[in-house]
């Protein structure tokens, strides 16, 4: 088996340079690559274009990279919950491209499936459609949206093996499998890294062919954005 293990987040992101486009998995703060985000902040790489469903919160997730002004452009579907983001956006310091969530996911998928574009009805008749080719199929209009082209995809999985196979847990799966498929170079950080043979091939969500570097992170914070509970009756 090809061994894709690297020592840590610093080694995994060593060759990300200023101005590159990176995808980051996660939905809200759920399933985000915490360790690689911390390493990117430490490295200080800047002018990044970040493709990620959300932009974190002020003091966690991608919010940490916004605070240090490392992000030139965000490509996201929903960016509420982040005051610093809103400030930079309204003042013009930060560029943002808001795209429908299904379009975001499917443009990742298309990249991983080797398809140059998709057709989706999401955004037809809205400002999202401006400048885009429209095709009519069976009487309904669809926008042509291109597959993403990202230098790096950074994802977080629950378990992985050194061959790069990944298993996600609960709803922290979200965008991670489709982004894992979409990077020119894909980096996976996992809570538990095992040897090949320890994961059942039937249970693999992302085949190792899509993953180029993998490492085990430790002390995951896994912050909860909205802690909602019910009383015990």
């Amino acid at each position: 088996m090809i061994n894709k293990r690297v020592a840590d987040a610093d080694e995994a992101i060593r060759d990300i340079i200023d101005g590159q486009t990176i995808m980051l998995g996660g939905f809200g703060l759920c399933g985000i690559p915490e360790k690689c985000i911390a390493a990117l902040v430490k490295k200080g790489v800047k002018d990044l274009t970040c493709i990620s469903n959300n932009a974190g919160v002020d003091d966690f997730g991608i919010g940490l990279m916004l605070k240090t002004r490392q992000v030139k452009k965000m490509v996201s579907s929903y960016v509420g919950e982040n005051a610093e983001f809103e400030r930079q956006l309204l003042s013009g310091e930060l560029e943002v491209e808001l795209i429908p969530q299904g379009t975001l996911a499917t443009r990742c998928m298309a990249a991983g499936y080797g398809m140059p574009a998709i057709f989706t009805p999401a955004g037809v008749g809205t400002e999202v459609a401006e400048g885009k080719e429209i095709r009519n199929f069976n009487g309904k209009d669809y926008l042509m949206e291109y597959a993403f082209d990202a230098d790096f995809a950074i994802v977080k999985a629950w378990k992985g093996d050194t061959a790069g196979n990944l298993i996600f847990r609960s709803t922290s799966r979200n965008f991670n499998p489709v982004m894992a498929m979409a990077g020119k170079i894909t980096i996976a950080e996992v809570e538990e890294l095992v040897e090949p043979g320890e994961l059942d091939p039937d249970h693999i969500h992302t085949p190792g062919v899509y993953v180029h570097r993998i490492f085990q992170g430790s002390d995951y914070e896994k912050r909860i954005e909205q802690r909602t509970v019910r009383p015990r009756s």
């Binding site: 703060l29 579907s77 919950e81 037809v124 609960s170 909205q226 909602t228 019910r230």
Partner: protein, 219 residues
């Protein structure tokens, strides 16, 4: 006049046994509390879950198990988890029977605006554009008038659109309304204690109302 829970309670009556339902953030989320006994529904959360259960008991919250509102939740027997592309695949291919979402404005031809106030608020559309573009059955839960008393049911939306010609039913604090395929709101039910005249005054788009419109049954 209904409060938010009243709107949710009325919408819950539209849910049929066997439905797969996507609930948006805000009032739509409350609908889950009023689904009648014996009506089996599966709630979809577009971050990748079918079969959304109630909030966890205190101390059992799991950071890896959230809904699209980023709230901690639980699964139910029969739940399934999938990635975001598949989640919107089932939305686009119309496997979800009913979508309930909020709106800032709705127009008489079924346009909806709910994602942006230029120069003021930019939160993004999340999954709303995908949902309204593909769903075959959408109910909008919204306030009939804004805080200044101005109608949010308009001839034409003033805010950037989320989708065009896609909304057919609206439930507000004042009324249940259909949007006619040829254009215009049709008053179906009034909220308890609300007159047809008051609804007319509160609706800026074209409104068709019989003189005698039945009051909502919330039980």
């Amino acid at each position: 006049m209904l409060d938010k829970n009243g709107i949710a309670r009325r919408i819950a009556k539209e849910i049929r046994d066997g439905y797969y339902v996507n609930l948006g953030i805000g009032i739509p989320t409350l609908v889950a509390n009023y689904i009648p006994e014996g009506v089996n529904v599966v709630l979809q959360s577009e971050n990748g879950l079918l079969g959304m259960g109630p909030f966890p008991f205190e101390g059992e919250e799991d950071a890896d198990m959230i809904n699209a509102g980023k709230q901690t939740i639980t699964t139910l027997p029969g739940s399934s988890i999938f990635d975001s592309a598949m989640s919107f695949g089932m939305i686009r291919s119309q496997k979800i029977d009913l979508t309930i979402l909020g709106a800032m404005e709705v127009s008489e031809n079924g346009d909806i605006a709910n994602w942006k106030i230029p120069g003021k608020m930019v939160k993004g559309m999340g999954g709303a554009m995908d949902l309204v573009a593909s769903a075959k059955n959408i109910i909008v839960a919204m306030q009939h008038v804004n805080k200044a008393g101005e109608s949010k049911l308009l001839a034409k939306c003033s805010l950037p659109l989320t989708g065009v010609n896609c909304i057919r039913k609206v439930v507000t604090e004042l009324a249940v309304l259909d949007i006619l395929p040829e254009g215009g709101f049709r008053l179906i039910e009034r909220a308890p204690g609300v007159s047809v005249d008051y609804i007319k005054q509160s609706t800026s788009g074209k409104l068709f109302a019989e003189a005698d419109v039945k009051e909502m049954d919330l039980n």
